[in-house]
């Protein structure tokens, strides 16, 4: 039996929440021609049916709260319940109310800006971007404005990204109107310095790097890379997806990065919510501060204020001031841990990854770039096994699989990021499960999973004949 859709639970005339006592006649206020001729076919359900529907759906869903979720580059750590209560304290603020009546909110934003600047080693920050990729776009637009301002906008037309980069990096560079050039990784999995030298030049606007990179390896030649890019007038961009590994231990600013975006929904425990809302603040060095989007949060003599007076600003990238309630959660996380706690969390994320890597090697998994990994590592199954089947097998064993088939430079990749909030015995159980899967018959693996709410889904059919709404009858 398929789980019913809310539309299938609907009964004509059934009512749920009634928020209005007196029903009014629309035509008293609105001329007929503006009025809707057919009501939207929204579900008609009572409140209990609504509760059962969504509670039932939630039971067909796993999250960090239910399941080990070692998705590489996603940092699926525990999201403290404290933060949900914290966010509720600020729920009733309107973005256009008098600034004197939101001094606490502005102070929190200002403080968080200071913490994030300190943690990244940057000079100025915007909290406006709504997600990591949005932060990337903001950062690249800032770089673009900088080059244009210096009269180099027309010649610097290329953004370099390593072949191991997150897909959002090249997509962002395209959105900002740049051509993208890939820089190959060397045999050690780090950026190939010689190849990079060949690509660098006065036609390059920026290099986008993740450090540690998507193989979980720290780019040890980062100071050399930043020296070379500085010499070439190229801006160095830090994709903060993997900051969790080094927070408190090392700062992108000290490594020579000019722009940094952070994923508050990864490193700083904002819940992922099934795909957002997130938050992607962008930090910059002083020379780029004039180009930040408006408004910035400033501390003045008469309190905190929103500064719209940035003549060289790239403009706005989002309405209002960003995903403010996500900022509250990140603030609570930083204040709970302090520097010592953040460093411990980072170190334990690394320790968990290295420990799990050893366990998987013992089970027969291969590590194509077996350097000292940071918070994540990339494994390959033994010859003859498909990563897809092992991932589906893990579902049957009660685990969420790692990120699979990424980074693209590793065949059959499994990118594993356990995070620091997982216990030793969880890592061991996960490794045991991956070991056991290698003992399963091939047919079993190819058929897995068996007992999940649904089994393998027909993706080809969904692509060929997408049915995107309940009323779509094609």
């Amino acid at each position: 039996m398929s789980y019913p859709l809310i539309f299938e639970r609907s009964r004509p005339g059934r009512r749920g929440l009634k928020l209005v006592e007196v029903v009014l006649e629309a035509s008293r206020y609105i001329p007929e021609k503006f009025l809707r001729k057919n009501p939207p076919r929204l579900p008609e359900v009572d409140e209990l049916t609504l509760v059962r529907h969504y509670t039932g759906l939630s039971r067909r869903q796993v999250g960090v709260d239910t399941t080990f979720y070692p998705l590489g580059s996603c940092t699926m750590k525990y999201n403290p319940k404290l933060h949900e209560e914290a966010a509720r304290l600020f729920a009733d603020l309107h973005p256009y109310q008098d600034p004197r009546t939101v001094q606490g909110a502005l102070e929190l934003m200002w403080q968080l800006s200071e913490y994030l600047k300190a943690l990244t080693g940057m000079d100025a920050i915007t909290l406006e971007p709504a997600a990591g990729a949005h932060g990337e776009l903001t950062g690249i637009l800032i770089i673009r404005a900088y080059h244009q301002d210096r009269g180099e906008g027309k010649v610097r037309r290329v953004v370099l990204v390593p072949d191991s980069a997150h897909g959002s990096n090249p997509a962002t560079a395209s959105m900002a109107g740049y051509q993208v050039r890939e820089v190959p990784s060397g045999p050690d999995g780090e950026v190939d310095l010689e190849a990079l030298k060949r690509e660098l030049g006065s036609h390059v606007a920026a290099i986008m790097l993740t450090n540690p990179n998507t193989l979980g390896l720290f780019e040890r030649r980062i100071l050399e890379i930043s020296r070379l890019s500085k010499e070439a007038g190229v801006q160095l961009y830090y994709d903060g997806a993997n900051l969790n590994a080094i927070m408190g231990w090392a700062r992108p600013g000290d490594m020579g990065f000019d722009v940094v975006h952070l994923n508050l929904h990864k490193t700083f425990t904002v819940p992922h919510g099934g795909g957002g809302p997130g938050s992607g603040p962008v930090g910059v060095k002083a020379h780029l501060a004039p180009y930040l989007p408006v408004p910035t949060v400033e501390k003045g003599e008469e309190g905190f204020y929103l500064n719209f007076d940035l003549p060289k600003s790239i403009g706005r990238v989002r309405s209002f001031y960003g995903n403010f309630l996500a900022l509250v959660r990140a603030w609570a996380y930083i204040r709970t841990l302090g520097l010592k706690g953040l460093k411990k969390a980072a170190a334990l994320s690394v320790l968990n990854a290295r420990y799990l890597k050893e366990l998987l090697k013992e089970k027969g998994y291969r590590i194509p770039y077996d350097g000292p990994c940071m918070h994540e590592f990339v494994a390959q199954p033994p010859q003859g096994f498909r990563t897809l089947d092992l991932a589906k097998g893990l579902l049957e064993m009660g685990f969420h699989p790692p990120t699979v088939y990424f980074p693209l430079i590793v065949k059959e990749a499994m990118m594993v990021e356990p995070t620091e909030t997982e216990a030793k015995e969880t890592l061991e159980a996960f490794a045991e499960a991956l070991g056991e899967l290698l003992q399963k018959p091939k047919e079993w693996l190819e058929g897995a999973p068996y007992t999940t709410p649904v089994r393998r889904l027909d993706e080809v059919r969904a692509n060929k004949y997408p049915k995107l709404t309940f009323f779509d009858r094609e």
Partner: protein, 438 residues
Amino acid sequence: MDYTPHTEEEIQAMLERVGAGSLEDLYRHLPKEVLNPEIALPEPLPEWAVLEELKRLAGKNQPAFKAFLGGGVRSHHTPPVVQALASRGEFLTAYTPYQPEVSQGVLQATFEYQTMVAELAGLEVANASMYDGATALAEGVLLALRETGRMRVLVSQGVHPEYREVLRSYLEAVGAELLTLPLERGRTPIREIPEGTGAVVAQNPNYLGALEDLAPLAEAAHRAGALFVAVADPLSLGVLEPPGAYGADIAVGDGQVLGLPMGFGGPHFGYLATRKAFVRQMPGRLVSETVDAEGKRGYILTLQAREQYIRRAKAKSNITTNAQLTALMGAMYLAALGPLGLKEVALKSVAMAHRLWELLLEIPGVEPFTPKPFFNEFVLRLPKEPEAVREALAARGFHAATPVPKEYGENLALFAATELHREEDLLALQAAMREVLA
């Protein structure tokens, strides 16, 4: 407190296993120059003290519950049932549903959301959400430019000024031209569409709150080979003719008005709906129905070849994380209210706004600016600076008079009413306004 489970013994055992002597050892391959920087952060606090500090900060704010402020965000009722269901850890702590077998909750809820949004907009399909209304507009316009292969955009001044600013940032990035069509007496005039225009954009109700008959503009856009993009408040679509019915090819808007907390501006969600013919140019995630290995109905992310993690530099957008949980809240709200409940909430806000308009116009020196008919927001010309009026009202416990940018005129302020307002609330605001403007 750091939320890590490790005991000292476990840390030692694990360090030994990985061949490290200490936690510091895990970082010894980093360049010395960057290791262990001085970082000034406040000392850690126990849980109760974090809350205490947050409450101290929250105490410096004046909550704007029942605010009369408008402009894209309004004080509406957030149903506890929506809060409770959206707080379930399975929804809250899931990632993007890349493993559909264990993500049917988020996937099906998203499919239902797409259906509800498409219904509201009067269009065939909707994506899984965008960051907010402004970025939904920017991405909707980029979609129109991809479809038409053109690089010129004509936007009505009736579109929210912040949305236009975001649109400008996105269009500048790709080198597209943005032209503005100034309002005439509070409404978008029908003008000839400049040659080479790929997208024509207008908002209904517009930023000033006025209802716009956009069908002629949509026709003009189509005659010129452009697509028509409508910005529409989703609550209004419980009552008003949907964008699809007046010729919009793409509809976008912000979901906050569907019972989401104002949250000082976010997170909310943006919606984006369009025709099925454009689906392969759409940005963002899409969920499709399909079947599993046993023929059982299920849901899955589809047409992923549009997206950054498959297509990289050739993706339709770089969007990855969107606003899934807040979009889910919007869907829950729509399901909780149903078509009639939604219509009632929208109409009460319309009625209260019209009553407020009458009351405020009784005050000497206050003049109407938004032409009738309007919806649940309207602009008045005040005899004083709106910032000063807003401040003086706040001192009296009222949050009203959103200052309107000067491009629309001098001393203009926006007012809104919602289902939360009673006659006595409106009278109290009127009395406070009389004092402030005296």
